[in-house]
């Protein structure tokens, strides 16, 4: 898989996150994942179809998800992964992946996305479309969100 495939996602994060109240968005380590992604506790899966097919899994700890939801809710205290936090995190990945799809289109590939699916639990792993996938760490106001991108 071409490492250039991550650019539309990084651009989407950089564009969307500041609109939701986040100050700094920095790209961290890029690596190639093999076999299984270990979940950090909260994983959101969004599928891609059309000219680019695959899945992106946003992976973060529950603590991070709660902090992100709180900032998205304009600083409202969020103490647990309740219905509002679940909805906020799902919307976030929907917006970022939707914007990434727009970016893919600018580069010449039409992409359609599925609704986000949130998976929570302790000690679980996932295979994101294929055994080899790209992993990019993004630091959002020093909160770590890992994007696992498996494209066919």
């Amino acid at each position: 898989m071409d490492a250039k495939m991550i650019n539309p996602f990084i651009e989407a994060m950089t564009y969307i996150m500041p609109q939701l109240g986040f100050q700094s968005i920095t790209k961290g380590r890029l690596s190639v994942g093999d076999q299984f992604m270990e979940s950090k506790g909260v994983t959101v899966l969004v599928g891609l179809t059309d000219e680019i097919r695959g899945n992106v899994a946003y992976n973060m700890t529950e603590e991070t998800a709660i902090k992100i939801a709180s900032i998205m809710m304009m600083g409202m205290p969020v103490t647990q992964m309740d219905e509002m936090a679940q909805s906020a995190i799902s919307e976030l990945t929907n917006m970022v992946t939707g914007n990434a799809a727009t970016n893919f289109e600018k580069y010449g590939s039409k992409v359609d996305i599925s609704p986000p699916t949130l998976i929570v639990g302790t000690d679980f792993k996932a295979r994101v479309s294929s055994t080899k996938y790209l992993v990019i760490e993004m630091a959002i106001d020093s909160l770590l969100v890992e994007l696992n991108i498996g494209l066919l």
Partner: protein, 285 residues
């Protein structure tokens, strides 16, 4: 038919009048007007409207902050922002909070009604899509249990409440895109997955990787067969749905959550154990 009750939060008496006028002779009735954010929150509690229109510039608070307070009271509140300003930042930050629709002033009656209808009917629509399309996936599920695994099954369907699905060990998730959007989960215990896989591959015991690959492909074929049958029904129209490649989740205490989705779980009882398929759709076109 009962009228849909709407709360109008706007500090401009002119805008309030225009909204009221736009809703004349429609299926909507205004159950309250609020000129400030605090009044809006109070009236939301008191009149429990079906839908709210919200101005962004209120004298006592930001309109999005008012939306947030209402959504804390009722996470399922349906709010449409109706403001002079409408840009990406407003849409994205509003969507992040849970706002369902955005319209720009001046108010156009037709557009207001269309947006309100979409927002109000979204949940009902999700349920209708699901009810309408579920049968095709059940058929594909039962047929492939016979054709690929050699198992007859008795199926029962339960409506999924709370948008949560509890996994039994191994879950394959496949997204649905296009004219209808949703997702399919095939779920079973890891012990049963090993047995099903051995039957699919016709071997005494299957290796871990073969189990994952064969169960993922089994799910992919069920979803693909269901989707093809549905697309065939709509042949010659613009209707088309597609499926994403399958992803596999493995864990003992997994909960799968799809906010805004209406879903049903199909329980397939076979002689070697129970398999589950959850099919869900979201509203909207």
């Amino acid at each position: 038919m009962d009228k849909v009750r709407i709360l109008v939060v706007d500090d401009s008496p002119f805008s309030q009048k225009m909204i009221e006028k736009a809703l004349l002779n429609s299926n909507y009735e205004v159950c309250g007007f609020a000129g400030t954010g605090n009044e809006g929150i109070e009236k939301y509690r008191a009149c429990k409207p079906d839908v709210v229109t919200m101005d962004l510039t209120l004298p006592d608070m930001d309109g999005l902050a008012c939306c947030r307070e209402i959504l804390v009271i009722d996470p399922h509140a349906k709010i449409v922002v109706l403001s002079a300003m409408k840009d990406d930042v407003i849409i994205n930050s509003g969507t992040a909070i849970g706002v369902r629709g955005f319209l720009q002033k001046p108010i156009k009656a037709g557009k207001l009604l269309t947006t309100l209808n979409v927002v109000v009917n979204e949940d009902k629509q999700a349920e209708d899509y699901q009810q309408e399309l579920l049968q095709y996936f059940i058929r594909a599920f039962k047929t492939n249990l016979v054709d690929m695994v050699g198992l007859e099954s008795e199926t029962t369907v339960t409506a999924n409440t709370g948008m949560k699905f509890m996994c039994h060990g191994l879950a394959i998730i496949i997204g649905i895109t296009g004219t209808r959007q949703g997702r399919i989960i095939l779920d079973l215990s890891s012990t049963l997955a090993a047995e099903v896989s051995a039957k699919i591959l016709d071997v005494p015991t299957a290796a871990e990787d073969d189990i994952l690959n064969s169960i993922a492909e089994f799910a992919n074929i069920i979803a693909g067969n269901g989707v093809s049958e549905i697309n065939n029904l709509f042949k010659g129209t613009e209707f088309e749905i597609r499926i994403t490649p399958p992803s596999v989740f493995i864990g003992k205490s997994l909960v799968i959550i799809n906010p805004k989705m209406s879903s049903s779980t199909v329980h397939a009882q076979t002689e070697i154990g129970e398999l589950y398929m959850n099919v869900g759709f979201v509203g909207g076109e």
